[in-house]
């Protein structure tokens, strides 16, 4: 095309040939003037317009401002020639910003191209929408893009682009896309035979499902199925094998998608997923020389490990994963080491059982000395995550040792982590104080204020520690150079608890004073102020050094710093009062213990680590802090301290708002309620269902397209329901999906033995077996959802006839036994009774045969000769449940021919069974509107 436009080629050649900037500008100005004139004159043909717009684009790309050509670009879009259209679209996407008024003019042209039969034009239009992505376009065209995506006549490359365009629109304007409404239709494309389309649609679903977990639930099943086909059954076209790994991009996306959802409780899916993950892990046992192959394989593997951790941290799979990870962290490849440590940290943060990781503690500690700072950082994170009471001394000791040689960029984070670990897992307070003081002296500059506040709080709140802390801090102060934080701690602790050690040799008041005061000159004003407070405390407890202390106050009375001067003056005045005065004693009362509070340290760390999505912080259940009682904050002699802590606490609420990546489990409850599509309605649907309640096989649903039949067998609390689904049409049903929803998951479990094939050939039938187990008495029957593509996407949702009476087994009882039990159970609430109208048969008699049929169909043993009245029906049975054992159930049906009424009484050891069974039995026995009765009689 460019070869045809000689003018353009010449223009570009001229500009490239320009020796200096001025010449280039001159050439451009000349050309622009020419173009402006041509456009003004009008009457240009398509070719000329194309050529000039192309020149305008080139000028624009060079960085010059252009103010012509917009209208011409809009005109070019509606041209029928591809080359002109293409330049038009290019100009529109480049020259116009998304709020430009010109865009309004192109919306219609774009729509026309979207509806065009020419796929190339579809693609150009999709590109333009995705590139511009303005609100207006999204609102006007999202519907058309969606249509292109789902239309069965779209070419695969159009579908791919449509999916990605929708994704782009959704990311920019999430409210424009009716995600809930489109969910099922979009998910059904995951069954598309073209993997490229599947990849694009999965990207789209990945974004949509994150915000609409419930609406997209069915994608879980699709994802598992697709992974199974790719990984286990090797069902993919050779072109999609990338360095011998089947379409790694798709695998990673599917594995990621599964992590958005809470683990499925469907055993079939679980088994399939286990197999997939196992296979992925096994694949990595054969190391390969090809770096590209390894990268692709590991990409999938790490995602699989993350999923395995998400599913269940105690599964054998995770153990396998831990072994693999251990191999990785000593790998030669830096990338693999990095990711190995990263994933291990993720595992350590989630699991309760750290032993697998602890085995490799040595290797991990070695990683702290890796050549690469990124790897060192990950090792640090991992050590932090894997630390617990058992290994804390070792890990903290190791970290402290490393701290002295660590990079500056790493130190602050390390210090915080050491401080938190020390506090969280301190076995003894002695160790705690030792470690923190060493930390202060080793890396004082990087130690935040919070760290030493905590030391003071803990020492104040722990009486046994006070003398020891005073001694240790004194020793540290004796070294020639001490960090200011250490001086602060020293000042505070010696002031409060110096008197506890004053009688021991080497710790006399005068020595304490000299050591502390010698540091004073190197300190900032706030620290000196603290030291003054220390001295006034000493005036109270060490009268022997009072002259020296008063001397200090006297000197400070003349310093320029207001705070220091004021303190000195006040302290001087207090110190000068007569000895019998109680003011000094009252002022210098010992500080009371701090009230327990959340540790400011952990808050600080959370704030820092917010971007890691909290993976570093253990789950709340594991955050057992031994020193919780000593956490505190309160007024100290320095008012500003409490303020600082308060402000650090105020920042705390940020921690609750990280981008939630992992799906929260609380959703599973609401999921069930919402995940069920609206039940398919119809008189026949109800009739089929009701009939199946007391028969073992029959039709459950039928329309012009499909037929669903049922065959069922029950044994104790277990049942097996075969669902036959037949395609009555002459075309195949694609994206065929079946799923089950139970509302009371803890009372009744129902799941398919295997996933249904995604295509149902014309005029064929498939059998899907459902395994049922009744754990407790339940009320709601499970819902079967069948969806498929036949022209449009259709969904049928019907209840499966699985009710509590299906688990009823008849028992033979004699009259005496029956009435003894009947009395034993007694009246309400363990009795359910009702009176309802009945219809008589053709001869005007009670249809006893039918009544008995219904009663025995429900599983009761009809007992003959028990009731004195022969028209009455008496039955007995036992409901089997797996968790609650057996529940006895007795029935008495007393029809009255004259009144055309009947009384049903059910007594059961479980009130729920009684009321449930009464409701279930009454329905088919009740007389209905005449037409329905007639119909029934024919059954």
């Amino acid at each position: 095309m460019a070869t045809n436009m000689r003018g353009l080629t010449q223009f570009i050649a001229d500009i490239r040939g320009a020796r200096v900037r001025e010449l280039e500008e001159k050439r451009i100005n000349k050309e622009m003037a020419n173009i402006r004139k041509r456009f003004k004159d009008g009457n240009l043909d398509g070719y000329q317009k194309k050529k000039y717009v192309a020149k305008v684009i080139f000028t624009y790309i060079l960085g010059y401002k252009v103010d012509v050509g917009h209208m011409e670009a809009v005109n070019l879009i509606s041209s029928s020639k591809y080359s002109e259209k293409q330049i038009g679209y290019l100009a529109v996407t480049l020259l116009m910003h998304e709020n430009s008024d010109f865009l309004r003019l192109v919306v219609n042209s774009i729509r026309k191209d979207l509806n065009d039969n020419n796929e190339i034009h579809n693609c150009l239009a999709l590109h333009a929408i995705a590139n511009v992505g303005s609100q207006e376009m999204a609102e006007a065209l999202a519907e058309d893009v969606h249509r292109l995506l789902i239309s069965p006549t779209s070419e695969t490359f159009v579908r791919k682009k449509a999916a990605l365009t929708l994704l782009r629109l959704y990311r920019k304007h999430p409210d424009v896309i009716p995600a809930q409404e489109w969910a099922l239709r979009i998910v059904s494309i995951m069954d598309n035979p073209d993997l490229g389309v599947v990849l694009c649609v999965t990207s789209l679903i990945l974004a949509l499902a994150q915000d609409h977990l419930d609406a997209f639930t069915i994608c879980y099943q699709k994802a598992v199925d697709r992974l199974n086909r790719l990984v286990v059954e090797h069902e993919y076209a050779a072109t999609y094998s990338y360095y011998k790994v089947p379409i790694p991009w798709l695998q990673v996306k599917l594995l990621r998608l599964l992590q958005y959802y809470p683990p499925s409780d469907d055993p079939t899916l679980q088994v399939m997923l286990q197999e997939v993950l196992q296979t992925i892990m096994n694949n990595c046992n054969e190391p390969s020389r090809n770096v590209q192959h390894n990268n692709a394989q590991h990409a999938v593997l790490f995602e699989a490990i993350n999923l395995a951790i998400h599913l269940d941290t105690n599964s054998p799979l995770v153990n396998t994963a831990a072994v693999l990870l251990a191999r990785f962290i000593s790998s030669k490849e830096t990338n693999v080491r990095y990711l190995g440590l990263d994933t291990m940290a993720h595992l350590a943060a989630r699991t309760d059982n750290l032993s697998a990781i602890k085995n490799h503690q040595g290797t991990i500690i070695l990683s702290l000395r890796d050549k690469d700072i990124s790897v060192r950082r990950r090792a640090l994170d991992l050590l932090y995550s894997m630390c617990d009471v058992d290994n804390s001394e070792l890990i903290v000791g190791e970290l402290l040792r490393y701290l002295k040689v660590a990079d500056y960029g790493l130190r602050e984070e390390m210090v915080l982590k050491i401080a938190v670990l020390t506090e969280k897992y301190a076995g003894t307070y002695k160790w705690y104080v030792d470690t923190i003081l060493e930390l202060l002296s080793a890396a004082g500059d990087h130690v935040g204020e919070e760290v030493w506040y905590r030391v003071v709080q803990i020492v104040t709140n722990t009486e046994d520690l006070q003398a020891y802390a005073a001694k240790v801090v004194f020793e540290y102060l004796k070294s020639p150079s001490s960090h200011e934080s250490l001086v602060k701690v020293g000042g505070y602790i010696l002031g409060e608890y110096g008197h506890l050690i004053a009688n021991e040799a080497g710790y006399s008041p005068i020595e304490q004073f000299q050591v502390l005061h010698s540091k004073s000159q190197f300190c900032m004003a706030p620290t000196r102020a603290m030291l003054l407070s220390t001295y006034i405390k000493w005036v109270n407890v060490f009268p022997e050094i009072k002259p020296q202390l008063v001397n200090v106050f006297e000197r400070y009375r003349h310093v320029l710093d207001v705070d220091l001067q004021q303190r000195a003056c006040e302290f001087y005045a207090i110190a000068q009062r007569p000895d019998e005065d109680e003011l000094l004693q009252n002022v210098c009362e010992e500080i009371p213990p701090f009230p327990p509070r959340e540790s400011a340290l952990i808050n600080r760390l959370n704030k820092k680590q917010i971007h890691t999505n909290g993976t570093l912080e253990r789950q709340p259940s594991r955050m057992v802090r031994k020193s919780a009682d000593t956490n505190g904050q309160g007024s100290t002699s320095n008012g500003d301290i409490s303020q600082d802590i308060a402000s650090s606490l105020a920042g705390l609420d940020i921690t609750s708002s990280p981008v939630a990546m992992s799906p929260s489990t609380e959703l599973s409850a609401t999921l069930i309620a919402k995940g069920i599509p609206r039940l398919t309605a119809g008189a026949n649907v109800d009739r089929w269902y009701e009939k199946l309640l007391y028969t073992a096989e029959g039709v459950l649903y039928e329309d012009v397209q499909i037929q669903v039949g049922i065959k069922s067998r029950y044994q104790g609390p277990l049942g097996q329901v075969a669902v036959y689904i037949g395609n009555k049409m002459s075309a195949p049903l694609t994206s065929f999906t079946t799923s089950l929803h139970t509302e009371e998951g803890d009372a009744l479990s129902a799941s398919f033995v295997k996933i249904a094939p995604s295509t149902l050939a014309p005029r064929t039938q498939i059998q899907q077996v459902v395994q049922v187990e009744c754990k407790r008495v339940f009320r709601a029957a499970p819902v079967l959802v069948v969806s498929f593509l036949a022209g449009s996407h259709q969904t049928i949702a019907v209840r499966l006839p699985i009710v509590v009476t299906k688990f009823l087994e008849g028992v033979k009882l004699g009259a005496a036994d029956f009435f003894e039990r009947w009395k034993l159970i007694g009246g309400p609430p363990r009795e359910a009774q009702s009176i309802f109208p009945i219809s008589l048969d053709a001869t005007g008699h009670i249809d006893q045969a039918r009544q008995k049929l219904v009663v025995s169909g429900y599983g009761f043993q009809v007992l003959e000769g028990v009731d004195p009245n022969p028209t009455n029906v008496v039955g007995a049975g036992i409901v089997h449940t797996a968790a609650d054992g057996k529940v006895g159930c007795l029935l008495r049906l007393e029809p009255n021919r004259e009144a055309k009424l009947s009384r049903i009484t059910i007594r059961s050891t479980s009130e729920d069974v009684a009321s449930e069974a009464q409701k279930l039995l009454q329905k088919p026995l009740t007389a209905e509107a005449p037409s329905a009765t007639a119909e029934k009689r024919t059954l």
């Binding site: 990268n295 830096t334 990095y338 050549k371 917010i610």
Partner: protein
């Protein structure tokens, strides 16, 4: 999702380093862009060859790979897979190579 992709070349002098291509997949302020480009190129170019291809920058991950003197740098989100991004870069280079001949 990928937030941005940069192609940065390493020249003999630090001053001559240049962004050859930048594609932003998210609306970003010009000022923020400049800052990201500056920070990220600095981080990436300072790394030695045997180091790993991943970095953490603020709350994003950065994945880069060097082809001759050209660095391909991708900014991705926390939740993304690093290795697969590396594969995307590699695939991109393969496509460029296939399309334009030896690049």
């Amino acid at each position: 999702m990928i937030n941005y992709m940069l192609l940065v070349s390493r020249q003999a002098t630090a001053r001559a380093r240049k962004v050859r291509l930048a594609k932003w997949y998210q609306t970003t302020l010009q000022k923020a862009k400049v800052k990201i480009v500056k920070d990220v190129t600095q981080l990436v170019l300072a790394r030695r060859t045997r180091m790993c291809n991943f970095l953490k920058y603020k709350n994003t991950k950065v994945v880069y790979r060097r082809y001759a003197s050209l660095f391909f740098v991708c900014g991705i989100m926390q939740s993304n897979n690093e290795l697969i991004t590396l594969k995307i870069i590699h695939r991109y280079v393969e496509v460029l190579n296939w399309y334009f001949g030896n690049v």
